[in-house]
């Protein structure tokens, strides 16, 4: 296929036209882009909250906002980033767009359910925004009882938002499981699936199995607040720690809902930009499942100092170490994939390399927190904040951005500025480390998290971290500018700008409404760079 043909074919973006055709679309690609819009909006919103938090923490004492506002800011930053950005981020936005293309399918298995999931997302987001307007929430994104039962802020609308968003997540998961089972192209056996698909599959299983528990928990919390049923409130004979068990039973697996799809993207990027067969395909695929299963059994490691029994703590610590091993295996596999490759440092690959460095730090610092005695000191300090951001932002967000830059030409048929995107990724990488590495030291020195004010001895590191957030902010600002610029002024992209072997690159950029002119047939594996000579068509 040549560029001329690409330009002439009718893409899903241009036909049919009109707002209605977008709002009622059943096309997975359009739904993916609708999701992308919502997710980017949430990311900016959560990012602004984060910048304000860092600005307040530049110096000890009250500066910019009051203690109440600060508590609302960190709650909203967490809730928006987790429930509106990072959980739906990779699966619902990128996954929705890419999954059927990778399978050589016309769409997902249930297109209407797919659209419904987006509307549920919008309704959930509306509840979250409403809670912002009606006095915000100040409980932290974890909504711990009994504080969340007693506070005057609008906990009900925010928890209801998370409850509703859960259904959106379940629907996406269900849809993906069926799609992967039923809609693979002829010849595409399980072990010829791209690893991103394996990652989405493992994620979908957690989404379907764990999210209902969050739904039940949040519903109980709402009932507790509205009707005083007395399940969590000690004043009525309830147990606040029970809430923590319920909450983490979802929210620990949810951490893997957030990271597994990111790992899937990294497998694609490293193989494609190293132009090299992926090392240990099965090890990577199965480790996703290993992680998914064991992730259900480690929730108690959030509660080592909550007064739970020592035997429970011991078992949870042991299982926590086990769940770390598959992630380590993946890192070694990615590294080995680059060996004897032909590595090109395009922007998506720079994100993948950033992921490799930052996720390694995130993973290794998890070992400190899994070790019982060390966790007693580090629990609820900035060390945990830093660890979490290294895994979630250094991991998932880097992977998400890598994926976004990888599939951007496919989504919109346009190439963004190579120079500006490289400047931006460098700023983001540096800014991220300045912001968050300092927080490891804050944590080990004893700085607790969720503090509006702090002891003077922590000031230099806090100031350092705040400066980092400005570098980070600048990096993202540049990214938004060149991405939007590329939509209008970007060079046209050919069908396969990176020289990849998966199905989505065999159809024009952007693809026609039904993806492929005829159902493709799989003739080679997704990473057979040792057998297939593939041309880059920029």
């Amino acid at each position: 296929m040549n560029n001329n043909e690409t330009a002439n074919s009718i893409s899903f973006l241009s036909e049919p036209k009109g707002l209605k055709s977008w709002l009622f679309t059943l096309d997975h690609k359009r739904i993916g882009i609708l999701y992308l819009g919502g997710i980017m909006f949430s990311f900016i919103l959560g990012g602004v909250f984060a910048m304000l938090i860092r600005l307040e923490l530049l110096r000890p004492g009250p500066d910019l906002v009051s203690a109440d506002t600060y508590n609302q800011l960190f709650t909203l930053h967490g809730a928006v980033m987790i429930f509106l950005f990072i959980i739906p981020g990779v699966p619902a936005a990128l996954g929705n767009f890419v999954l059927p293309l990778m399978l050589g399918a016309k769409d997902v298995a249930f297109p209407r359910l797919n659209l419904a999931s987006w509307y549920i997302y919008v309704v959930g987001a509306a509840f979250a925004l409403y809670s912002l307007h009606s006095g915000a929430v100040d409980t932290g994104w974890t909504f711990y009882t009994p504080y969340s039962v007693q506070t005057q802020t609008s906990v009900v609308s925010m928890t209801l938002a998370a409850f509703i968003l859960g259904f959106s997540s379940i629907f996406t998961g269900l849809n993906f499981i069926v799609t992967i089972h039923k809609l693979r192209a002829p010849g595409q056996t399980w072990f010829k699936l791209p690893l991103f698909v394996w990652a989405l599959y493992a994620t979908a299983i957690i989404q379907v199995l764990a999210t209902p528990v969050l739904g039940i928990t949040l519903l109980l919390l709402i009932l507790e607040r509205l009707f005083g049923i007395g399940i969590f409130d000690p004043a009525m004979g309830g147990d606040p720690v029970l809430y923590q068990h319920f909450f983490w039973f979802y929210s620990h697996p949810a951490v893997y809902i957030m990271i597994l799809p990111g790992m899937g993207i990294i497998s694609e990027l490293i193989s494609v930009f190293s132009h090299k067969k992926i090392f240990g395909y099965k090890a990577i695929a199965f480790s996703s499942f290993g992680i998914a299963l064991v992730s259900f059994l480690v929730w108690g490691h959030h509660m080592f100092v909550s007064g739970q029994s020592e035997i429970a703590a011991m078992i949870f610590s042991f299982l926590t170490f086990l769940v770390g091993i598959p992630s380590g295996i993946k890192v070694f596999n990615w590294l080995s994939t680059m060996y004897k490759g032909s590595i090109s440092l395009e922007t998506p690959m720079l994100y993948a390399l950033s992921f490799l460095v930052l996720f390694t730090i995130g993973g290794l610092t998890g070992i400190f927190l899994g070790a019982l005695s060390v966790d007693v000191h580090l629990h609820d300090t900035y060390f945990v904040v830093a660890h979490f951001h290294y895994v979630m932002m250094g991991g998932t967000v880097m992977a998400f951005l890598g994926g976004l830059h990888y599939w951007w030409p496919k989504m919109f048929g346009k190439l963004y500025s190579s120079l500006w995107s490289k400047i931006s990724v460098a700023l983001i990488f540096i800014g991220f480390n300045v912001t968050f590495f300092s927080q490891f030291i804050l944590g080990t020195k004893g700085m607790p998290r969720r503090y509006y004010n702090y002891l003077d001895q922590f000031q230099p590191l806090h100031a350092f971290s705040t400066v980092g957030s400005w570098i980070l902010g600048l990096g993202f600002l540049i990214m938004f500018v060149y991405l939007i610029h590329s939509l209008f002024r970007g060079r046209r992209s050919g069908p396969n700008p990176w020289g990849a072997l998966t199905f989505e690159w065999t159809t024009p950029s952007p693809p026609p409404t039904y993806n492929f002119k005829e159902t493709p047939r799989l003739t080679h594996g997704p990473y057979d760079f040792d057998k297939i000579a593939v041309e880059e068509t920029k």
């Binding site: 000690p234 606040p240 240990g280 909550s306 060996y339 005695s373 609820d380 607790p448 001895q457 057998k531």
Partner: protein, 314 residues
């Protein structure tokens, strides 16, 4: 910045802090090793195998059993060592020595109070003898708090519906920061205290004298001392800025409008009532969040606090 201690850890001052730090640094150096391995590998591969011109066919190697077993088994062994090591110290943190002195810790929004076996009560200052195991029996009056002393590497949540127990033994005299580590609302970051570790003799003297009797102080000075030691300052300023509660400055002798309508004269009786039954008359614009000091303050202390508030004129 505190420059004592090590790069990461503040100076350790309990019998168990050394054990925690050794495991911390074991994991730290192991992490540095693996981090350098992975980053160096990445840099070498990216440089050595950088694309020159067109990408041709590349090697199809995708397995190496020896390598794969190695990078699974070695990390597994290492984390198992860390698991056992961490668990052993954790058990020592949780098994209280038999001869420990038991002190009751109460957390509430937003201060700590300590009840000693001899009957004394302190707020935000835990006084303990050096080289003696101290058992802490802890509970909360409202939401969950967490008792965190970085120098002792200890932390334990303080719950409203049950007791939690932890212990420590300080190895050096001095004042150490005590912080609340579980988010508990507006005053969370002000819920700070000190652990004052003193010699056996000083501890005995301190108990003998009875803390907070104001011996040799006039009522205003004693009140000023209580304002600090009983943590009134967490919510009430003395410079006129409203905080979680109204400022003490110039409050005496004025009329205050109330949340449920009407007003009240701020006199000795109103101040006394507000200390013992804080919810009775809430000043307009403030939330009913103050805990009662019934049983925490003695009559003489209440008198002194009132005298102090009266002295804070506009």
């Amino acid at each position: 910045m505190d420059t004592t201690g090590t790069l990461f850890m503040p100076p350790g001052q309990s019998t168990l802090s050394g054990e925690v730090d050794s495991l911390f640094y074991f994991i730290f150096y192991m992490s540095v090793f693996f981090f350098v391995l992975i980053v160096a590998g990445t840099i070498i591969f990216v440089y050595r195998y950088r694309r020159r011109g067109k990408a041709g066919l590349t090697s199809g190697v995708s397995h190496n059993t020896t390598l794969e077993v190695t990078w699974t088994v070695i990390p597994l062994i290492l984390v198992l060592i860390i698991f056992v090591w961490g668990f052993k110290t954790y058990m020592r943190m949780n098994v209280v020595p038999k001869d420990a002195i038991e002190i009751k810790v109460t957390g509430q929004k937003w201060f700590w109070s300590f009840d000693y076996p001899e009957g004394a009560t302190t707020v935000n200052e835990l006084v303990v003898p050096v080289d003696k195991p101290i058992k802490l029996l802890m509970s909360s009056k409202d939401v969950i708090h967490s008792f965190f002393v970085p120098a002792f590497r200890m932390k334990m949540d303080v719950l409203p519906n049950r007791y939690t127990i932890t212990w420590f033994e300080a190895i050096g005299a001095g004042n150490y920061d005590l912080l609340c580590a579980e988010y508990c609302g507006k005053g969370h970051s002000e819920m700070l205290g000190k652990v004052k570790v003193v010699s056996d003799r000083e501890y005995a003297e301190w108990l003998e004298k009875g803390p907070g009797t104001g011996e040799g102080l006039n009522p205003v000075d004693f009140g000023a001392q209580l304002y600090k030691s009983k943590a009134c300052f967490t919510c009430h300023s003395v410079d006129g800025t409203p905080n979680i509660g109204p400022s003490f400055k110039g409050v005496y002798g004025h009329k205050a409008s109330l949340e449920k309508g009407g007003e009240t004269a701020v006199d000795e009786n109103y101040l006394r009532e507000s200390i013992l039954d804080p919810q009775a008359k809430i000043v307009a614009g403030y939330q009913p969040v103050m805990p009662t000091y019934q049983g925490v303050l003695k009559d003489k202390q209440i008198d002194a606090l009132i005298a102090y508030i009266k002295s804070l004129k506009e």
